[in-house]
């Protein structure tokens, strides 16, 4: 009797592990493995023609933040890297902000349509999302380039005399990223707005709240989870964006993704690339921790 129970328990335990195997394999080889390799690479020496030499070195990490002058050997901050860090964070924050400003009314509009119309509007949001990233980016480029639709139109109606130089600027990168990542903001916002009980909004009006007060005191607190999820979904990929800054920034306005690619490509400095990648990951983790802390405190405050 006791033996039987033990055998069965052992068999069940074995079955559980067997069922978990596919997930574990993916976690180990596809998620943790590459990350571990990147971490190891960042502490090795760069090979002469790319690749790595198996000699321990902290040079890569040193070079992420500092640079040594070739001539007089003085130490200074790696201005180029730091300005790229700063630009990446700044552009990602601005993109997230822009996505909130554009995505919030969009999601609200869709959530307030009759039920059978909402799918249609969501489809319109999703169609660009299913299109190739590069093609979408080139489409935006066509819109804002000097001889593009926007400039031609503005010049035709004599608003401007010379074309606006938008392309190959930080603005262009923001516009490009905004277009690419907007659905990631609209989707979670829509999900939380669809669940919103609109009689609460009526209750707000009924209790003498103006439109602004209803938005600030009722709608915003209630859709906050969607707002936070959307912000994370937009901010994280923006920070690591590669194609959009490359195409829209014209190779002049580098972001972290481009800098990392450079080290693995022409730069032939794999350890530095690896160290920059880990730095990017760290920035994302810090941002996420901040979000979680803020969201957690809010929820804690209300029990």
């Amino acid at each position: 009797m006791n033996d039987l129970a033990r055998t069965r328990e052992r068999r069940e335990s074995r079955n559980r592990w067997l069922l978990l195997t596919p997930a574990l394999v993916i976690l180990i080889f596809a998620a943790s493995g590459p990350l571990l390799i990147t971490l190891v690479y960042s502490f090795l020496t760069a090979g002469d023609y790319g690749g790595i030499k198996w000699d321990f070195s902290t040079d890569a990490w040193f070079n992420v933040f500092f640079q040594r002058d070739i001539f007089d050997d003085t130490l200074s901050f790696a201005d180029a890297h730091l300005s790229i860090f700063w630009r990446s964070v700044k552009l990602s924050l601005l993109t997230t902000l822009g996505a909130i400003v554009l995505g919030f009314p969009t999601a609200y509009f869709i959530a307030t349509r009759p039920k059978h119309h909402r799918d249609f509007w969501m489809l319109l949001i999703m169609i660009p999302f299913w299109t190739n990233l590069l093609i979408r980016t080139f489409a935006v480029m066509e819109l804002i380039r000097n001889e593009g639709t926007l400039n031609t139109l503005l010049m035709a109606i004599s608003v401007i005399d010379a074309p606006l130089q938008i392309l190959f600027s930080e603005t262009a990168i923001i516009i490009g990223m905004l277009y690419v990542y907007l659905p990631l903001m609209v989707l979670p916002l829509y999900a939380s707005m669809e669940r919103l009980d609109f009689s609460l909004i009526e209750a707000g009006y009924d209790l003498y709240a103006s439109r602004l007060a209803v938005l600030r005191r009722i709608i915003l607190p209630l859709v906050k989870p969607g707002l936070i999820a959307g912000s994370i979904l937009v901010f994280v990929p923006s920070l690591g964006a590669y194609v959009t800054p490359r195409v829209m920034g014209g190779g002049k306005q580098l972001m972290l993704g481009n800098l990392i690619e450079l080290q693995f490509g022409q730069g032939r400095n794999w350890p530095l690339g690896a160290a920059l990648s880990i730095t990017l990951l760290a920035i994302v983790m810090v941002a996420l921790l901040f979000y979680v802390r803020v969201a957690g405190r809010e929820r804690g405050g209300h029990g």
Binding site: D197, S199, L200, E202, A203, G204, Y205, D206, L207, Y208, A209, S210, A213, R217, I218, P221, L222, H302, G303
Partner: protein
């Protein structure tokens, strides 16, 4: 105090045009407990939402103390609503919910604190101020919703079927509670319900609505005893409908001839000319079962339904009409008749009501 005149609300256009409200006029007095009663889809909630400001009427005017209410957006009307599902703010505590309206009105902090405490005592929720709205029961949520709507001291409180989600016992006690609150605060209550009993027990006056218009307005007793038309008689309580012929009609008195050929006095609201064929409404509890020879009408007892406090006699009259008599279980007669027996049915003169066609 509130004057509603000629209010109509149409949805859609052309053939799909639906009249949610059709030329509704009613005036509601200061400090009145006024009930809009009717089946679902009769327009009672639409009328309430017109007063609250969430629905713009297609036609008509609504004034309060001679101010045009329709010109004001919902958040500027001195009117508060208790919503059907309470609509308590889930991200705020009980106290914050009750304080919301006062904060929006920009009242000083001290006054808000004081009023909130006062309201909590009024609805018997003191000591629960810092609970989350999800942590309290349905009945308590109901009280918080009431307190929240009463706190800004509105001139009129609108209640949209606020008791429908509560269980039977709680509903009973809240009915008494609501009436108490209305008397204590002196605020005009406009109460929407489909529950006739709720309407009869609480209201000063009832407006019975059907298909977007008001069919009858009056005190509960008048609505019950003197229904103006078939819909009202049928919707409120149980009623027997008898086809009759008017013999003579004078003022509110009429002589009518029943299907059996016998004549009896009845009440009438509207002018009828002699000889008109019309309908007489008789409440089951107003009629009696008697031996065949004494009956105003005669028939066969086809069913006896026992209800504890009373027994329902279902009688198939000779002219083919099913007539129900409700008898309190205290007479020997109740036990002497058996299914299949031929019996008589009678009711006092002047108790039947001639209905509007």
């Amino acid at each position: 105090m509130i004057e509603i005149s000629g209010v109509s609300k149409a949805y859609g256009a052309g053939k799909a045009r639906v009249m949610a409200l059709n030329d509704v006029s009613v005036s509601i007095a200061q400090n009145e407990f006024f009930t809009l009663l009717g089946p679902s889809g009769c327009g009672k909630t639409t009328l309430l939402r017109v007063i609250a400001g969430f629905v713009d009427p297609t036609e008509g005017t609504v004034t309060m103390d001679d101010d045009n209410l329709l010109a004001l957006p919902p958040h500027r009307r001195p009117v508060n609503t208790v919503f059907q599902n309470y609509a308590l703010f889930p991200h705020l505590t009980v106290r914050q919910n009750i304080a919301f309206g006062l904060e929006m009105l920009g009242k000083p902090k001290a006054e808000i604190t004081e009023t909130v405490e006062e309201m909590m005592v009024l609805v018997q929720m003191d000591g629960m101020a810092d609970r989350q709205t999800s942590q309290i029961s349905g009945g308590q949520q109901q009280r918080v919703a009431l307190a929240r709507a009463l706190a800004p001291k509105p001139k009129v409180l609108l209640l949209d079927e606020p008791l429908s989600a509560l269980d039977f016992k709680l509903r009973k006690s809240m009915q008494i509670e609501l009436k108490r609150l209305q008397t204590e605060t002196g605020i005009t209550f406009i109460f929407v319900t489909h529950d006739q009993e709720e309407a009869l027990t609480m209201s000063d006056r009832i407006a019975v609505m059907h298909a977007g218009s008001i069919r009858q307005i009056g005190p509960p007793r008048e609505i019950y005893d003197q229904p103006a038309e078939r819909f009202v008689a049928d919707f409120i309580g149980d009623t027997n409908f008898l086809p009759v012929k008017i013999i003579t009609a004078q003022g509110s008195e009429a002589q009518v001839e029943l299907g059996s050929g016998k004549r009896i006095a009845a009440r009438v609201n509207k002018e009828h000319s002699d000889g008109d064929a019309t309908t007489l409404a008789v409440r089951p509890e107003h009629a009696r079962v008697v031996p065949e020879a004494d009956g105003l009408m005669t028939g066969r007892l086809c069913n006896l339904v026992y209800f504890g406090t009373d027994t329902h006699y279902h009688v198939d009259l000779d002219d083919g009409i099913r007539f129900v008599v409700r008898v309190q279980n205290n007479t020997d007669m109740a036990r002497s008749a058996a299914q299949g027996d031929r019996i008589g049915v009678t009711f006092p003169a002047g108790i039947g009501q001639v209905l509007r066609d």
